[in-house]
């Protein structure tokens, strides 16, 4: 739901800032993730001037580059997963683990067609009590992330598989940035199928419970990277 941009100077300013229209009403109150505050403080010129990383007033932050994450970008989004849904694992899974798998959906409707993704970092948090009970076991866990089709459709191509030692801390995994565009449709959303299986044949003491999933998405909007912004040689 978008509110039509009011005519006049405010609309012109919104367009200049690359925003089609202002969000309608007040947003749902939720805490700002610490990583976003950290990135904001590092990129804010006033904060940067006061900090030790600022060598001199002329040493500007590199345009269209998120130094802290080491990628090109001028837009960073923290996207919480919506509609995390657990489903039973396939009985024919190689490990035979009866733990559930999850489907998570990320709303990317606000990502403009002109933006190019440079980083897509998935962050998963597991319920603390269950994570402790589940324990890493001898072989730890294996996380697999696949593109998920629409409801009823089977899982799509696997984006990554990686070993996870413990579940007490958030699990971070970098997805191929192109995945955020490839799965786009109207309304645009990224649907992922997540599975956490024991890394060894021994069954885990308990299944992990996914408590929270979010996506840190960095994109470059080339319209906001004009040549004048580049530092002079």
């Amino acid at each position: 739901a978008r509110a039509p941009a009011p005519p006049g100077p405010a609309a012109a300013l919104l367009r200049a800032l690359g925003l089609h229209d202002a969000p309608r009403g007040a947003p749902t109150p939720r805490p700002v993730p610490p990583v976003m505050w950290r990135l904001f403080r590092r990129r804010d010129p006033q904060e940067a001037r006061a900090g030790p990383r600022r060598a001199s007033p002329g040493a500007a932050v590199r345009p269209c580059h998120v130094e802290e994450l080491g990628v090109a970008g001028n837009i960073v989004r923290h996207v919480p997963a919506r509609g995390a849904r657990a489903r039973p694992a396939e009985p024919a899974a190689a490990t035979g683990a009866p733990c559930p798998e999850w489907t998570v959906v990320f709303d990317l409707a606000a990502v403009d067609d002109a933006e190019r993704a440079s980083l897509a970092r998935l962050e998963l948090r597991f319920a603390a009590a269950v994570a402790a009970a589940a324990g890493p076991g001898a072989g730890g866990w294996e996380l697999s992330v696949a593109l998920a089709g629409d409801a009823g459709a089977g899982p799509g191509p696997v984006l990554l598989r990686r070993a996870v030692r413990g579940l007490e801390l958030p699990v971070r995994a970098e997805l191929p940035p192109a995945a955020c565009a490839r799965n786009a449709s109207v309304p645009r959303g990224l649907r992922l199928a997540l599975a956490l299986r024991p890394g060894s044949p021994a069954a885990p003491a308990a299944c992990a419970a996914l408590a929270e999933a979010s996506l840190l998405l960095v994109t470059v909007d080339p319209r906001l990277c004009h040549p004048l912004a580049r530092p002079r040689r």
Partner: protein, 107 residues
């Protein structure tokens, strides 16, 4: 909120503060609450000690009667970052170049 531009002053950066509350964006902009955008205003005459830097062309123009005075415009700008909620309640950090006038010059 802008510093009033009085006629007759030399070209320099004047204070212009953009408050996100004043433009009604305070409900979705998380930080900053506003920023000092500034603007350039003032008379561009022949360069004098302490005057803002002028392009050679601006000096020529100031010398030629009838050509009109050079323009007082931003000579150095800096970026800002804005943290806000979008329509999907995602937290977004966007970086914008050339939002703050640091220095004015005659061009």
């Amino acid at each position: 909120g802008a510093e009033a531009a009085l006629p007759g002053g030399a070209c320099r950066a004047r204070r212009l503060y953009v408050s996100f509350r004043d433009v009604g964006w305070h409900r979705w902009v998380i930080a900053p609450r506003g920023f000092l955008a500034n603007y350039c205003q003032g008379r561009c005459a022949l360069p004098a000690p302490g005057a803002p830097p002028a392009l050679n062309h601006a000096v020529l123009r100031a010398l030629v009667p009838g050509a009109g005075p050079p323009c007082c415009v931003p000579a150095r700008l800096s970026p800002i970052s804005v943290l806000f909620f979008d329509n999907s309640d995602n937290v977004v950090l966007r970086h914008y170049e050339d939002m703050v006038v640091d220095e004015c010059g005659c061009r």
